[in-house]
């Protein structure tokens, strides 16, 4: 019984069911009662990894290479063990940054680079097209084979069909329409498709059931269980080789490279990223997926070898393509319903892959390729259009159609050159190029945009050269000599043995060179380059995804109007959706409506996230920049930040300096305080000394007064003598009190000065006249040695006279008792007048020459005879001379008299005259 229309009918019914599930899923999602929010659905949807390549191709590969089909599943199984570490981080990062595709992920990580997003998209599209072609091939050939039922005939053998007779074209178009209906019914900022995920999970179930059904039927219907089947299979020629490594099953090396390759693919294939990261509802679902997903892979592979052996035993060698054993075995055994189920299973495997892959790719093409270009194309005026959501959907739909047609073209052109598995591996190797930029981006902060660009470019080019071009050559597009002799017969450029590296299978070879160059360039360029500030911020966000909670646009600076921002988001999401989103955002912040929002960095970040969901991170940034007067994060911004930083540094330096100054001031205060205490102590000493000095004359006065009082009968001579002592001591006391007060006035600066230009000669002669009486009494001779002309000096006349009188009376006191001689000499020096007062007395000990200028210290302290005087004369004289700007000192040697000298500065007489006048004014 030919199945004919039944096949079409069943297929359409199946697609109808899928659509219904998807529709229901979307409805439930809109109602907030998600049907996919459980780990089983998530794990099943991950099984989109198993495509028609698995469904049909595993058996084909097993027939050729025995257990060699396994590495493709061992890789994901191993990687599943790392899901919690790697995939969870990818999910966390993507959720936080509203990542919508793998291109978006890489672009966002490296500073929202549109160029990088475009490159990733290009690699993904070029790399995955063969994979889509593979699905088209599987669906169309399985359809054609089943169409012939009950005959088993391999399609397309030697007959060339025009495109319009080609089933694959219709399959492609049908799938395109289906995918468009599925995936691009409306735009969503999160780019999540709950209905689609539900449908994909359902498809995973269908293909597993179909495959298990065939497996069970063959193993337990056709044979008596595994043991029986393998026993019989053991009689097949070369079956040993299929079950051991080293021969057709692959070397250890090729197993290693295939396992490695598939480990990367499960993470980086665009559809896997879409399902496992973008569509993930809850990252905790991963916990179950870690064991459920490998279990699924085990289940779908368990019957591969039984079916293969059954096929090999059933069909004469070479008559039936082993890729079709799954389908042709039930057909050959006249199990039409089983065959139909298998066809549906294959269809589900293919559609699942195609739907998710094209949706993922169309998002990438739209967000990372088309929009950045269109937005930059000013002539289109897109930035001014009010509602772009229609355009976005249009681009995506067009992209889906285009991808499907490209797949078809590839299928027509090159599809015959390879078995299914080989085509799949070419795609795997392409997406493996994302690994350095992705993993490096997640775990290495230093990775730069330039590094990612060069790594990806080099890896992609080498992939092209070592895998895709040879595939073209095998398809006859390029001469075979390209493979065999290398381009232009340069042997070391042979694409399958680059630089003489032979001995690896072509996948391993390509993987080695492309990933080596990719990783090398990525790390090398990153290490030698510098990150921009935005790249750095993004790198921190990605690498520290588990540490930083939330957003990272802390460096945002600019101004924006809330209405403009909302309008902008509305243009891409549609005004209604945008309104809802911002109202929700406002509600979250406890505001009544979006009208109360403040245009701050958070708002702009939120808007950017919303836009990123619709048009990708890179484009979103460009768009927002158009309404937000954001300073471009170029050199200016960096300099600004640096400036700010340096201001902070300067500020902290200033603080440091201030605290240093404070310390200094504290130190000064402490020193001043110590000085004050010292002064206080000195004052105490001074007062104590003054008291002592005053008490001495007072003692005499009191004693004699009492004696006179108590002895009225004292004889007149003695009486007169005692009274004279009292008078003398009273005079001494008075003089002392005057001098103490005078010194205190001088020291405190409260003394009155009547500074005028003086003729020194006059003053000296005046002093001589004043002391003539004293000199006569003591029999001391005073000689003056004055030059004819003495320039005037600025001084207070009375004060200068006081100094001279003091020096003369000192000289009288200490000069020779018998032949006292005093000389006063004046010298005119270039800048000063010098006055010397010389005596011929005993001289002053060197030890005393300083102390005599201290208060109450007298050179006679150690002499037997105490000299008369207050001990204040010299300190007062020194104060006066220093006030005039001169110096007072003594030169003496024991036995040779003493010379007291002072200077008075010249030259400032006129200049200081005005000063003196003012001083006088104030002084009086």
């Amino acid at each position: 019984m030919p199945l004919g229309g039944l096949i079409l009918l069943t297929s359409c019914a199946y697609l109808g069911i899928l659509f219904a599930i998807a529709y229901w899923g979307d409805k439930r999602a809109d109602a907030g009662r998600s049907i996919i929010a459980n780990p089983y659905i998530y794990a099943l949807s991950l099984a989109v990894y198993a495509t028609s390549w698995t469904f049909y191709g595993s058996v084909g590969r097993a027939a050729a290479s025995g257990v060699g089909f396994l590495p493709i599943y061992l890789g994901p199984t191993l990687m599943a063990a790392l899901f919690w570490l790697v995939l969870r981080k990818m999910i966390r990062i993507s959720k936080a940054n509203r990542i919508t595709s793998i291109a978006d992920f890489i672009a966002a990580r490296y500073g929202k680079s549109a160029l990088l997003g475009g490159l990733v998209t290009l690699i993904a599209v070029v790399g995955v097209i063969p994979y889509i072609a593979l699905q088209l091939k599987a669906v169309s050939s399985s359809f054609l084979i089943l169409w012939q039922y009950p005959t088993i005939q391999m399609p397309n053998q030697g007959e060339a069909l025009g495109p319009l007779q080609d089933t694959a074209l219709y399959v492609a178009l049908l799938l395109a329409i289906f995918t468009i209906l599925f995936g691009t019914r409306h735009l969503d900022a999160t780019e999540r498709h709950e209905g689609m995920v539900a449908a994909i999970a359902f498809e995973s179930l269908v293909k597993l059931l179909a495959f298990l059904a065939v497996g069970l039927y063959v193993t337990f219907g056709l044979y008596h269980g595994f043991a029986d089947l393998f026993e019989q299979a053991a009689r097949l020629p070369d079956v040993d080789q299929l079950l051991t490594l080293g021969g057709p099953a692959g070397t250890y090396g090729s197993w290693g490279s295939l396992i490695f390759l598939s480990m990367l693919s499960i993470l980086f294939l665009p559809r896997q990223f879409q399902i496992s990261v973008v569509e993930n509802v809850n990252e905790n679902h991963l916990a179950k997926a870690i064991w459920l997903f490998p279990l699924y892979l085990l289940a779908i592979n368990i019957f591969v070898l039984p079916i293969t052996f059954a096929g090999l035993m059933h069909f004469p060698a070479g008559t039936v393509d082993a890729d079709t054993f799954v389908l042709t075995l039930p057909m050959a055994l006249r199990q039409e319903w089983l065959a139909l189920l298998v066809f549906i299973g294959g269809l589900s495997a293919a559609t699942g892959m195609v739907i998710v892959e094209t949706i993922a790719l169309s998002t990438m093409i739209c967000n990372d390729l088309a929009m950045p270009l269109l937005l930059r194309w000013k002539a289109l005026g897109l930035a001014q259009r009010t509602d772009l959501s229609g355009l976005l959907l249009g681009i995506r739909r067009g992209a889906i159609l285009l991808l499907m047609l490209l797949g078809y073209v590839y299928y027509r052109a090159a599809g015959e050159a390879y078995a299914l598995v080989s085509i799949g591996l070419v795609s795997f190797a392409a997406v493996a190029q994302f690994a350095p930029a992705m993993l490096g981006g997640m775990y290495w902060k230093q990775g730069t945009r330039a590094g990612a660009l060069s790594g990806l470019s080099l890896g992609f080019l080498l992939w092209l050269y070592t895998l895709l071009l040879p595939a073209f050559a095998k398809s006859g597009w390029l001469p075979l000599s390209f493979i065999e002799q290398g381009p232009l017969a340069i042997a070391w450029l042979k694409p399958l043995a680059l630089f003489g590296l032979a001995g690896l299978d072509e996948i391993g070879h390509s993987l080695f060179w492309s990933l080596l160059a990719n990783l090398g360039a990525y790390v090398g360029v990153s290490l030698f380059g510098r990150q921009s500030s935005r790249e750095h911020a993004q790198a921190l966000l990605f690498v520290d995804a588990f540490k930083v909670a939330g957003r990272g646009s802390s460096l945002w600076r600019g101004s924006a109007s809330v209405t403009e921002v909302i309008a902008l988001v509305g243009r891409f999401l549609g005004p209604a959706r945008a309104g809802e989103a911002f109202a929700g955002y406002a509600a979250q912040r406890g505001l009544a409506s979006s009208a109360e929002l403040v245009p701050d960095a958070d708002l702009v970040h939120f808007a950017e996230q919303q836009l990123a969901g619709a048009i990708g991170a890179a484009s979103a940034r460009v768009m927002l920049a158009s309404v937000v007067q954001e300073e471009p994060l170029g050199m200016d911004e960096v300099l600004g930040i640096l400036d700010e930083a340096s201001q902070v540094i300067a500020y902290s330096r200033r603080l440091e300096q201030q605290s240093h100054e404070l310390e200094t001031a504290t130190g000064e205060l402490r020193a001043a305080n110590a000085r004050l205490q010292e002064l206080d102590r000195l004052k105490d000493d001074f007062i104590s000394t003054v008291t002592h000095e005053l008490r001495t004359p007072l003692t005499s006065i009191r004693a004699f007064s009492e004696i006179l009082n108590d002895n009225p009968e004292l004889d007149p001579a003695q009486r007169a003598r005692f009274v004279a002592i009292i008078v003398k001591e009273s005079e001494r006391l008075t003089r002392m009190i005057n001098q103490v007060l005078d010194l205190a006035k001088l020291e405190s600066g409260r003394a009155e000065w009547h500074t005028t230009a003086l003729d020194l000669k006059e003053v000296i002669e005046d002093a001589q006249a004043t002391t003539s009486q004293l000199l006569q009494e003591q029999g001391v001779e005073l000689r003056l040695e004055l030059p004819a002309q003495i320039p005037p000096v600025l001084a207070d006349r009375d004060r200068l006279l006081q100094v001279l009188l003091n020096l003369i009376s000192n000289a009288v006191k200490f000069c020779d008792r018998e032949a006292g001689r005093i000389g006063i000499a004046v010298q005119v020096l270039p800048e000063a007048l010098r006055v010397d007062v010389r005596d011929n007395g005993a001289g002053i000990d060197p030890a005393d020459q300083q102390t005599i200028f201290e208060k109450f210290r007298q050179a006679g302290d150690n002499l037997t005879e105490k000299p008369q005087g207050t001990g204040l004369g010299l300190p007062i004289s020194r104060q006066i001379i220093e006030h005039f700007g001169g110096r007072l000192w003594v030169q003496s040697a024991r036995g040779q008299g003493a010379t007291f000298s002072f200077t008075l500065p010249l030259g400032q007489a006129n200049a200081a005259a005005t000063d003196a006048g003012r001083e006088t004014e104030y002084g009086v």
């Binding site: 104590s688 008291t691 002592h692 000095e693 008490r695 001495t696 004359p697 007072l698 003692t699 005499s700 006065i701 009191r702 004693a703 004699f704 009492e706 004696i707 108590d710 002895n711 005692f722 002592i725 003398k728 001591e729 006679g860 302290d861 150690n862 002499l863 037997t864 005879e865 105490k866």
Partner: protein, 123 residues
């Protein structure tokens, strides 16, 4: 036999007044103008009492007091310190060094004589 008093002071007028007062009171008076001289006078002819000024040239009153007390023969010699510095420390220092009494300048002649009389009466 009248008691001997040594006056050790560098202020001539004070010495004159003390000399007059003590002689009038019936003492035999010796005079020294500085510390060194005082010690020499004591060695030559130990007095019964030394009226000792603190601020003496060459050798201070404290030093003289110490020297006197160092000599076992002069243990019974009365020492009355006389000073213009009336601070507590000085008084304590003098008494600690072995002075028997302390009189501050300016002094009351009556008190001075009473003090000297009292000191000499103790013996």
């Amino acid at each position: 036999m009248s008691k001997t008093v040594l006056i050790a002071d560098d202020e001539p007028n004070i010495v004159i007044s003390l000399e007059f007062l003590l002689e009038q009171a019936g003492y035999r008076v010796l005079v020294a103008h500085d510390g060194q001289e005082a010690l020499e006078a004591i060695a030559r002819q130990p007095p019964d009492l030394v009226l000792l000024d603190v601020m003496l040239p060459r050798l201070s009153g404290f030093d003289v007091c110490q020297k006197i007390r160092e000599n076992p023969d002069w243990q019974h010699m009365r020492i009355v310190m006389l000073t213009a510095k009336g601070r507590e420390v000085e008084i304590s220092k003098g008494l600690a060094l072995g002075a028997n009494a302390y009189i501050t300048k300016p002094f009351s002649t009556q008190e001075l004589l009473a003090q000297i009389g009292a000191q000499l009466a103790v013996e």
